[in-house]
Symmetry: C2
Subunit: 601 residues, 2 copies
């Protein structure tokens, strides 16, 4: 049976030693949060994840969700676990104290969410979607809507969903057909079919707050005529009490490859009463608030699945005896050496580890930009943080989900034939992690968002800021000889990113297909460049700790920092070179891809 | 629902125009086989695959196999389909006419097998394993064993299995515990537990010929004390009639990620009567006969899954309307363009296509080496063919299964959210194709076989032969300006393979861990080099056909050859650069992988 132990030491390293959360006096509220408080929260979350959610993971996969008389039943134990989750106050960890939340930084709650996703990705989607709905209403809702919905979402008494996709339209939201008819009283009647609605119905909460994209009669065609509506499953009275059922029904559940514990619903809206959220015809903009939040949430799923996959593969590799090390027997008393002695097994474990540790630091760093954008009193700092967050959101989503899947596949490979057997649990990680590359915008769409939107926005201000960050780091560390392999690696990655950017500027305008063709290559180069920056920083911190501790006799964390540096070295040896192939492919452009007629396929 | 149409035109291209099967007067029996006969066989096979096997594929996945009172029940329809398969003579296509076979080249039967695997991978495993048993008995059995078993295997009246793995031992066969006790009459009683036995029991054939690795009492420890036995499920009388049940029982079925239509059995041997195959204690050598055959069969599964995945993704991409081409609307009469206009979608389809066409030619080329090794009257030619086949077997197994899985994952990505839904069928391709990277020796083991065994054998004779092949091609085509991009690519790939080989020779002896650490990188470089050679050859043939046909007015195959060349160009642009990253990683060696203590994981 699979297991999960939260990587608390590494989380503390990132939060305290790298991001120095408690020292951020520039961010209101952060300084109150002492390291002790953070650690206590992390430890409680770790317990919930390992003791409550993880044991439900495989059972949830086997049992799945059922649709019974129009109501979705979640797997056995989910209801009780969700109760424990909400009663523990985990939903409202970072929500607004004005609406009952605890107002803690997202940079802390992302660590909590990571644990929940590692332990049980399907389960963690319920609170995850809820937070998306909270974010959209919080930013675009009226005061009345906020007062009505936010406290109940913040407590987890109600849940939330995002309703975008229809049978004929996924990526291309301009094709949306769901209608919204104004009733004259400020409300609308919503009619249409939405598919792929995660947590579209469930038996965990007494109400579900659907956020629905629809088209008001007479609205402009395409994406400029789409509005966002809030449509509760059960109608809500002015005083917040529940009224009658609204006209929205789950008509079927999808049978899918994984995340069986999360119901993927077809929702039928038949004159369901909803209210406009934000301005009419500006629904896409409001939805993107949720989307950006959700994309970071999906990036997190990639990281979380990579972490739990690595843990289970490592546990197997330490125990499984098979063959002898080619460089000499390592366990002479045993009939064979544990397979962790074999370099190729170690390679797969290190591939996971370097993504877990580097990806964690990268993602938390980005979420801290989000906290800065939301909290900093300095408008310049807010803008700079928002720029970097916007630039890196598609990079994180695509790269971490790709790598999360890859780690789960390699973890399965470590187990050999046993990895293919359901009982071992690792094949579930493969099936579950696969969806993260697809939903909230496929990874191809993320790459288009990066290349087509984020790069060029505001005169490429965000990209320049990123280059500036690298240059600043290189200038600051130019005399640090110990760090040299990493600063040289960073300079090399920067050079490749620069070359890719130059190529793109020259060729994408001349032929827009070039942008689409190489977007994923470009995204990979940027991801590797960002990770090189992150790894250089992690190593710098670790080296400084080792130097400072040199005098101490019993330095219990010595191995931790040494391993961090060794893992950083692995990054340079085996991840950084990925830019070489990517750049070579990128400079070939669209022509080789599009040479065949469409009907040749 | 997924579909499959055999790529007959491309198969004919490889068999007739590239490998020129019917012109191989040096190989006895080949010249009798006219292109018309080959085409008729291919067309019949295509019908069986598309009309009989493919429709059972998804149902077989959903229903799976059941163990009922000690007997395995295959999914509905499998029994009838197997009857049709055997009655059509498909099992004995390439078996020895002395034992009832048709004696046709394996180079032809591999094309037939490809169709069956594309249509229904789980089903095709039954005849696949049967052929492995046939090969082992045919090469290592006594005349009496051959007379008893081969005709029944050749007709498909009986089936076969390979029994290697035990609960505590997979890759490391030296740990095998299954015992063989001599009975004094030439037979042995076999006792032990074997796991992961594909088709270990079924209801398709009246008997099953198990080939079992076991240890005779007093045999040397480790792999030098392992013998191979033939153990029929039902004992066989001297006259070939069936006797009483032998002491072998299927005690359970594994629940696994995919290939649900193929039962993966735990077999318990309790004093089952068997006979030695080949010499005592030399069982591993005999088993490797099956293994090599089986490894090519698994490589074929990678190719087959890549082909069917690409077909289904392409069909979806041509139909699904979403968004507009960035280089201008392509379908103004429709609400959106079909997604095949988007370069990133095209990239994924081309990734599949370039592996399907290049991988097919590569694999069939290797199988023709096998036919040459088996049939050529010239001992030099036999040796040369065997060398190249031996060298390329692990390369084909690892690379084509890796790419087959990758294509299925990308096909799923083309379908977006719909790719995650079971009904569409593509997620089954992902789950099914995944096993091919694991069984018959994980891909990591293939790489060790290449680097640790095949490279060095006979003073690296096979490797030199491969370099010679490339050099010969380059010399022969040095004035062919039209082919220049490919010959330049081939020279570049050769250079990278040479550099990788030099590094390995220098560093693997000094530290054997270096060989294990970079074996997969090396394998990838060799695979890409081999595919560059293959693609250069395919393009050369296509260019020659176009030149020759220049005079003809209506040249109906024009598009076929032009597409072949365009696909070859895609190979140069987007697969060949993979060697750059691989070489950079390879030269980092084992140190970064092994820097951490095993207990740091």
């Amino acid at each position: 049976m699979p297991s999960y132990a939260a990587p608390l030491r590494d989380m503390r390293f990132v939060l305290h030693e790298v991001l120095s959360l408690s020292d951020r006096k520039d961010l209101p509220g952060f300084a109150d949060l002492t390291p002790d408080v953070i650690d206590a929260i992390l430890e409680e979350a770790a317990k919930l994840a390992s003791e409550v959610l993880q044991p439900l993971n495989r059972a949830g996969d086997l049992e799945g969700c059922r649709l019974e008389n129009g109501v979705v039943r979640t797997p056995k134990g989910f209801k009780e676990a969700f109760k424990q989750y909400t009663e523990g106050g985990w939903v409202g960890l970072s929500t607004d104290p004005d609406y009952g939340g605890q107002g803690l930084p997202h940079t802390l709650s992302i660590a909590v969410s990571e644990m929940m996703s590692s332990a049980n990705m399907a389960f963690a989607m319920f609170p995850g979607l809820l937070r998306g709905a909270y974010a959209a209403l919080s930013l675009h809702g009226t005061d009345a809507q906020k007062a009505l919905y936010l406290p109940k979402l913040s407590s987890g008494q109600w849940a939330g969903t995002m309703n975008l996709t229809e049978p004929h339209c996924g990526t291309d939201l301009g094709l949306i057909k769901t209608k919204a008819e104004p009733q004259g009283d400020g409300t609308y009647k919503i009619t249409g079919t939405k598919i792929f609605i995660s947590a579209g119905d469930q038996d965990l909460t007494e109400n579900i707050v659907h956020l629905v994209l629809a088209r008001v009669a007479g609205a402009p065609a395409g994406v400029k005529g789409i509005s966002l509506f809030v449509v509760p499953k059960v109608r809500v009275n002015r005083d917040g009490s529940l009224g009658t059922a609204n006209g929205v029904t789950c008509v079927s559940l999808e049978q899918k490859m994984g995340i069986h514990g999360s119901p993927t619903c077809v929702l039928s809206y038949d004159g369901a009463v909803g209210e406009l959220v934000g301005e009419a015809d500006k629904g896409l903009r409001a939805m993107f608030t949720m989307m950006n939040e959700a994309r970071l949430g999906v990036a997190l799923q990639g990281l979380a699945m990579s972490e739990v996959s690595t843990q289970n593969a490592a546990a197997y590799a330490r125990e499984r005896l098979q063959g002898r090390s080619v460089s000499g027997t390592k366990a002479p008393d045993l009939p064979a050496d544990p397979i962790i002695v074999h370099p190729d097994v170690r390679r797969m474990l290190m591939n996971g580890r370097v993504i877990n540790e580097g990806g964690r630091a990268f993602l938390y760093w980005a979420v801290l930009k989000g906290d800065t954008a939301a909290r900093s009193p300095d408008p310049k700092a807010r803008e700079a943080a928002e720029d970097l967050l916007g630039l890196m959101t598609p990079v994180l989503k695509a790269y971490l989900t790709e790598k999360g899947f890859q780690t789960s596949v390699e973890a399965q490979q470590v187990l050999g034939g046993h990895g293919y057997i359901a009982e071992q649990g690792v094949e579930q990680f493969v099936r579950d992690s696969r969806i993260a590359m697809i939903y909230e915008g496929t990874n191809g769409i993320q790459a288009l968002d990066l290349v087509g939107r984020k790069l060029a926005a505001n005169g490429a201000r965000a990209l320049f800021a990123f280059f500036g960050l690298i240059d600043g780091f290189l200038a600051e560390t130019k005399d640090d000889t110990e760090l040299k392999p990493w600063t040289e690696g960073l300079a090399a990655a920067r050079k490749d990113l620069d070359a890719a950017t130059q190529w793109l500027m020259k060729n994408a305008l001349a032929n827009p297909d070039n942008a689409g063709a190489v977007a994923l290559d470009y995204l990979e180069i940027m991801a590797v460049a960002a990770l090189t920056y992150i790894w250089a920083d992690l190593v710098r911190v670790a080296q400084a700790k080792l130097r400072a501790a040199n005098q101490e006799k019993a330095f219990e964390d010595k191995a931790f920092y040494e391993n961090k540096i060794a893992t950083g070295r692995y990054f340079l040896a085996r991840i950084l070179p990925d830019t070489r192939s990517a750049l070579a492919k990128l400079t070939e452009g669209a022509a080789p891809m599009l040479a065949l007629d469409a009907d040749a396929f």
